[in-house]
């Protein structure tokens, strides 16, 4: 295949005790596309993503990134590959300053003899630029994240992923706690990230939010993949109906897809 996917997860299974969270799930994301990962509570969306980002090890199955088989055994591994995750509640740490958050775990340092100290100036200047790009106005990058709104926090986290050259950006319910206006800002910013060459996995309950920006959709139900569509093949209402009824009512489209 000429158009090799950025990520391919093959036959992923995972159990927690006696509960089978995922059964032989195949999942792939192409380059520079927005993939909507949807399904009801407990469908296995989060588990699938946590396997991809090294939070849980899979019981079985394989992961390929840029065509190479990879083992992702920690969030740091995922980050090193270029997989960046923004969790709804865990995007930023409220008590810390914006610039400390932005560079957490990847702080620029200056060498002073045997010690390495944070390059505060570089941190603050970078954050100022990124905030200006996103359109967030704060007095200083030293301000605590606590003063930012939910949408601003999501945007800063997305900006961080773009800045650090992520190839795949995973957004876990990025809009579920946001006002309408903020939701649109974040959705715009997702498209901008895609425009810069990133692939994006958008996990959500809200089909209308994801429908406006996604290129393809993967629908999970009780730990299995029940359908995969390109945007042209299905309407938002049909996706909701599939999730609501728990199985695919329309024709099976899987054959020609993967």
């Amino acid at each position: 295949m000429s158009d090799q996917p950025l990520v391919q997860m093959v036959k992923i299974s995972k159990s927690f005790g006696t509960v089978q969270a995922l059964k032989d799930v195949d999942f792939d994301v192409r380059r520079q596309e927005v993939m909507g990962l949807v399904g009801d509570n407990g469908a296995g969306k989060s588990t699938l993503i946590k396997i991809l980002t090294g939070v849980y090890p899979p019981d079985s199955g394989e992961i390929y990134f840029e065509g190479k088989k990879v083992k992702v055994s920690s969030p740091k591994d995922a980050r090193d590959l270029g997989i960046e995750t923004v969790y709804q509640d865990l995007a930023l740490i409220p008590l810390m300053s914006i610039s400390r958050n932005f560079f957490l775990g990847r702080e620029p340092v200056k060498q002073f003899g045997p010690v390495r100290l944070l390059d505060k100036r570089k941190m603050d200047e970078t954050v100022k630029e990124v905030l200006a790009e996103i359109g967030i106005r704060v007095r200083s990058p030293d301000e605590e994240v606590a003063i930012l709104s939910g949408g601003e926090r999501q945007s800063v986290a997305i900006g961080r992923a773009v800045y650090f050259g992520a190839k795949l950006l995973i957004l876990d319910e990025p809009t579920s706690a946001l006002s309408i206006r903020e939701t649109h800002k974040v959705l715009d910013y997702i498209l901008e990230a895609k425009g810069r060459g990133l692939s994006i996995v958008f996990i959500t309950h809200n089909i209308y939010h994801v429908y406006s920006v996604a290129d393809r959709f993967t629908i999970l139900e009780h730990g299995s993949k029940v359908a995969e569509f390109s945007k042209g093949e299905v309407s938002a209402e049909e996706i909701i109906e599939i999730i609501r009824s728990g199985h695919q009512v329309a024709t099976d489209n899987n054959g020609g897809k993967s």
């Binding site: 409220p94 008590l95 300053s97 560079f103 957490l104 775990g105 340092v109 390495r116 100290l117």
Partner: protein, 338 residues
Amino acid sequence: MGKVTNQAGRGNTPPRLSLERFLTWLRRHPEFGAFAGTVVVFIGFSITATRFLTPDSFAGILTVAAELGIVAAGITFLMISGEFDLSVGSVLGVAAMIFALTVKAGWPVLGSWIVALLASASIGLINGLIVTKTGIPSFITTLGAMMFWRGILLAVTKGFPIQFFPKTMPPMFFALNGRFVGQFRTSALWFLGIVLLINLILVRTRYGNAVYATGGNRDAARVLGVTTDRVKLINFVISAVLAGLAGCIQFARFLSIDPTRGVGLELEAIAAAVIGGTLLTGGAGNLVGTLFGVLLVGMVRSGLVQSGAPAYWYQAFVGLIVVVAVIVNTRLRRWALG
């Protein structure tokens, strides 16, 4: 402390109402409350206690504050990463006892000191491993450790104090806690050095960032690639080593150690950290605040006695300060965040 220059010197922001700027600054500097409290109490005792404004009196305050402060510095560091250590008082006792027994047995003092610190580090490591591997809250784990090590201490010494009266004072004792000018002791220099070092780590290093993140939101820190368990483990060890160091320093001052040494110290240290703006829930705080916190506690202790108040009032006064400090800090924070 560079406060005033910080406040005025942020040149790249447009000029705004000075009150608003002050609030912004205050929000980022919770240690200011402890500083203000220290000034108020200082002025108060200068009036009520006649001999308060003398070098000997300052030296007395520093002697108390430094020993408490070395313990509180470690506690602050650990609390910022989101954990407690209630066992520091017992660790102080155990370290001082090991130091005393080995020195008395004729070991080289430097060797004894290192062994005492290594023993402290081991206790901290055990605390940290239990907390990170089993997930038991550090409050419970270190409460158990506090009782366990205190019990061992009492059992081994059968409750008797150990004294050490050398013919000539070993130089190491001078280094630990000798008088270098008048009544001023080297413990104050240890304390100051430790405060500066830990604050540098917190404010200007990657590790410091990881410490704040671990205490601020452990799950978020973890998914952002911070190895939070490792951070906690290291901080448990540092907290215990500093408690052990304080024990050795205290022994070098008293030249005797009884097995109840350090009882209640853990709460005083936590109180000093909290007065200085460190959050009980972790994620915020700094060593400058703790510095003023222990100075405040030290001043209250000697100021009350010098003012002629019975020493019993000391605890009541410190208790009052803790609660007032936390109320003021929380209110200020909420007010400033709008």
